[in-house]
């Protein structure tokens, strides 16, 4: 394999695919699926075929294909493949444009993962960023604008970090950053800029306000955005902290209970993100918004793991990122299937769809288990690793926040489960059909890893271990079915055996007592017509909880940003008055500029 092949398959091929599928019109999603499938096949074939290469397109792009890249590419490729597969039957308007932009985003994401110099990182980062912008623009210009402002802020924070490194080293290579040219005291600045820059893509607090809007766009795209692209933030933070800076440098800034003081604040930020995201998710009635806030919260966990920086924590973060890629895109696709069939977004307006869309229900159920971290799914293992990482170092703020967030995750997962799929079927949804085949196939593809890696977490822990070892962080103690840590660990084999036993027991119980299915109109209200709002409990769900939180929910970060921007825009109108429209004033400016320039020049000379 040479540089051009690598670059060609993972970057140029999607770009070509983007061009081709634009003209594919109706068949664009199918073409795009084929293109992502090809790069997926190569990704599978080239495992272990690692190396670094340089591409010269006028500027030199340093690309490296290694286990970290491969691991993240795996998520990216699976998620986009199934998202595009889903979109085959979702009858999008202007499907050509959709497929094109998805593939552009995919190319950008692959580029970011391959990049080992800041120029190509920034190049692909921006490519990915504006593809998302245009994809959001398909739904709403206003949402897109909100996204773009934060996307650009993220890029500019990266630029600041990159620029400081460039000032000291004069090189864009990751590898040169540690050459010792950068003074020790400068590193915290660089890392802060880089981590915040990448963190915006992960929607960490307080830069999360774009996410609920962007995540309200077309579901196949949002699945890719939440499942795939947001992981680039995690990748970037991992790279900047543990590959560019390196763990020993981080440790040299002092430690707090064995955790670098450079990383700990970000772990706190992650905990805050997890907490705020989860709390806000609980109160959402719009399923897209709920999943969006949930996504924010879950990525907070990843941030915690990356911030804590112990092998267990990073391993947990990686594993959780991996899981999140699958279950969150599965959830978005599931929601997409429901929205596609019913045309409704509000949870309170749905209900009982589990009877009409049993397969979708089953897939979503798995995703929800994984999301909530219920044992038997891989989501449980990754969360467990993160808890252990926090608890083992006695972090009294991070660990409780995580636990609260985890409880919150149960609450909102249950809201989806109950509000959408259980409960009573609405009249208008009587004729809803099961989602079309490609959609089910897409969801199935995403569900498989969740199940497999819950049985044999060792496989994925093997890859993660390789990543950790390669970057000199440490290593995990794991076997095929379990992992162990200083304070415990988890053995999935035990869990599965217990589960199967329980399942058999439950089956027996179920068979022992005959259950009767109650029809909606098999009424227990004694002939009174029930008010429609009272019929379905998903209406005003968690009202007591919301009332409790009301004083806090009043303070919205969203509104703070709005005030901030209003304040600045007002200032802009003041500045505008310089351009008076009177040519004589302009002539006076010219004279004044001349004098000022001259005097500065003479003063410098003097």
């Amino acid at each position: 394999m040479d540089a051009l092949t690598l670059f060609g398959i993972f970057v140029l091929l999607p770009l070509v695919g983007a061009l081709v599928s634009y003209f594919g019109k109706k068949y664009a999603p199918i073409i795009a699926v084929i293109f992502t499938g090809i790069s997926g096949i190569f990704l599978y074939l080239w495992y272990g075929n690692f190396g670094s290469y340089t591409i010269d397109i006028g500027v030199k792009l340093n690309l490296t294909f290694d286990i970290t890249t491969w691991f993240f590419m795996l998520m990216m490729n699976t998620v986009i493949f199934s998202s595009l597969l889903f979109s085959v039957s979702s009858k999008l308007k202007r499907a050509g444009g959709f497929a094109t932009l998805m593939l552009l985003g995919f190319a950008g994401a692959n580029g970011v993962l391959l990049a080992r110099d800041f120029l190509s990182l920034y190049l692909f980062w921006e490519l990915m960023s504006w593809s998302i912008y245009l994809l959001v623009l398909r739904t709403s210009g206003e949402y897109a604008r909100r996204y773009l402002l934060f996307g650009v802020l993220s890029a500019y924070l990266l630029i600041m970090g990159i620029g400081i490194i460039y000032y000291y080293t004069g090189s864009f290579l990751y590898a040169d950053a540690l050459s010792g040219a950068i003074p020790h005291a400068i590193w915290p600045w660089i890392l802060t800029f880089l981590i915040l820059g990448f963190g915006i893509k992960m929607a960490i607090v307080p830069f999360h306000v774009w996410a609920p809007y962007a995540y309200s766009s077309e579901q196949p795209f949002v699945a890719f955005l939440s499942g795939g692209l947001s992981k680039l933030g995690a990748f970037g933070i991992f790279m900047s902290m543990y590959s560019i800076a390196g763990i020993s440098l981080l440790q040299s800034f002092g430690t707090f209970r064995g955790v670098s003081l450079m990383g700990y604040p970000f772990a706190l930020l992650g905990a805050a993100t997890a907490f705020i995201g989860t709390i806000l998710a609980i109160f959402q009635d719009d399923i897209r918004k709920l999943l969006a806030y949930s996504s924010i919260g879950q990525l907070g966990y990843v941030m915690i793991g990356l911030g804590l920086g112990t092998p267990l924590a990073i391993g947990g973060a990686m594993f959780h990122a991996f899981n999140h890629a699958f279950f969150k895109s599965l959830l978005f696709l599931g929601a997409g299937a429901v929205i596609y069939r019913t045309g409704k977004y509000k949870i309170s307006e749905m209900g009982g769809l589990g009877y009409r869309m049993p397969f979708t229900f089953m897939f979503v159920l798995f995703a929800i288990f994984a999301l909530a971290g219920i044992p038997l799914t891989s989501g449980f293992i990754s969360k467990w690793m993160l808890y252990e990482a926090a608890i083992s170092r006695k972090f009294v703020i991070v660990a409780p926040l995580m636990l609260i967030a985890s409880v919150g995750a149960y609450l909102y997962s249950y809201r989806i489960l109950y509000g959408v799929f259980l409960g009573q079927l609405k009249d208008e949804d009587k004729n809803v059909k099961e989602a079309p085949g490609p959609m089910l196939a897409a969801m199935f593809i995403l569900m498989v890893p969740l199940v497999i890696f819950s049985i044999v977490p060792g496989w994925i822990l093997g890859w993660i271990n390789k990543i950790l070892v390669e970057n000199g962080i440490g290593k995990l103690n794991y076997t095929t079915f379990s992992y162990s840590s200083a304070i415990g660990g988890a053995n999935m084999a035990v869990f599965w055996i217990a589960f199967i036993l329980l399942l058999i027991f439950a089956m027996l119980m179920f068979m022992a007592k005959k259950a009767r299915v109650v029809d909606q109109y098999d009424n227990y209200l004694a002939g009174e017509a029930p008010p429609s709002v009272a019929l379905h409990a998903a209406h005003n769900y968690y009202k007591p909880l919301r009332d409790t939180w009301a004083p806090l929910l009043k303070h919205s970060i969203d509104r703070a940003y709005e005030k901030f921007s209003k304040f600045f825009a007002g200032g802009f109108y003041e500045i505008k008055r310089i351009y008076t429209g009177n040519p004589q004033d302009y002539a006076a400016y010219l004279g004044i500029a001349f004098l000022a320039f001259l005097l500065v020049g003479w003063w410098l000379l003097w």
Binding site: Q584, A588, G591, I592, L595
Partner: protein, 242 residues
């Protein structure tokens, strides 16, 4: 307020300029001028640029009037630009003063003395203008003053005969032909000698009318061009009369 600012600004500008120009000697001998340097051959000459023109100008161009030699030959390209600028001005004024729906204005006839006098003078002024630009390489003057004099003859007609109207098409054709002459002369130089605006005709004897190669040719073209352009500007600004 604005006036005060303007006065202060003007005074300050005066002061800073005065401060700079104190450093610049006035009326110095040419021998004190710095010597020029040829950036292509990387050689520093043993004389200053004006000295070179004054010493070798006659041989280089065949013109007696050194200003003309510089304007038309040494820096002929500037002059081409200059002609273009004037052409642009006439075109620009023409396009700005263009009226689609021509509203004709009432005008008054001027008296007989003015009419006869200007008729009488017209030919002489034209002749004088032609004299100026034809002898541009020998005496002070040249295409621009000559053209301006010719335009003034037309201006006189405009004043004397309010109904007088020079045909725009004719003016622009003469403008164009004169301009084309200039460019074509330049291109012929490029073809013959490899230098745009090369003086390819024989220089002849200095101080004679037929000397200095293409300079008189170009000056005639410039004279015609400037004359017709200025006339066109005047005509455009006058608007449509009846």
């Amino acid at each position: 307020m604005k006036k005060a600012l303007a006065i202060v600004l003007a005074i300050l500008i005066f002061i800073v300029f005065a401060l700079a120009f104190v450093k610049i000697p006035f009326g110095e001998k040419m021998s004190t001028y710095p010597h020029y340097y040829n950036p292509i051959t990387n050689q520093t000459s043993n004389m200053s640029l004006p000295q070179h023109y004054l010493t070798y100008g006659k041989n280089d161009t065949g013109a007696t009037n050194m200003v003309t030699a510089i304007v038309v030959d040494y820096r002929g390209f500037d002059t081409l630009g200059e002609v273009t600028v004037l052409f642009l001005a006439s075109t620009g004024v023409g396009s700005l003063m263009y009226v689609e729906n021509k509203v004709k204005k009432k005008v008054r006839r001027s008296n007989a003395v003015v009419e006869t006098g200007s008729k009488l003078l017209f030919g002489f002024i034209i002749l004088f203008g032609a004299y100026i630009f034809i002898h541009g390489h020998l005496t002070p003057g040249g295409g621009f003053p000559g053209g301006a004099v010719i335009a003034s003859a037309f201006l006189l007609l405009y004043l004397a005969y309010p109904k007088f109207h020079a045909k725009h098409e004719k003016l622009s054709v003469s403008e164009s032909i004169a301009g084309l002459t200039f460019v074509i002369v330049g291109l012929i130089g490029l073809i013959i000698a490899g230098y745009f605006l090369y003086n390819f005709l024989p220089f002849g004897l200095p101080t004679y009318l037929f000397s200095a190669g293409v300079i008189p040719l170009i000056y005639v073209a410039i004279g015609v061009k400037v004359g017709s352009e200025l006339t066109a500007i005047v005509d455009s600004m006058m608007g449509v009369r009846e």
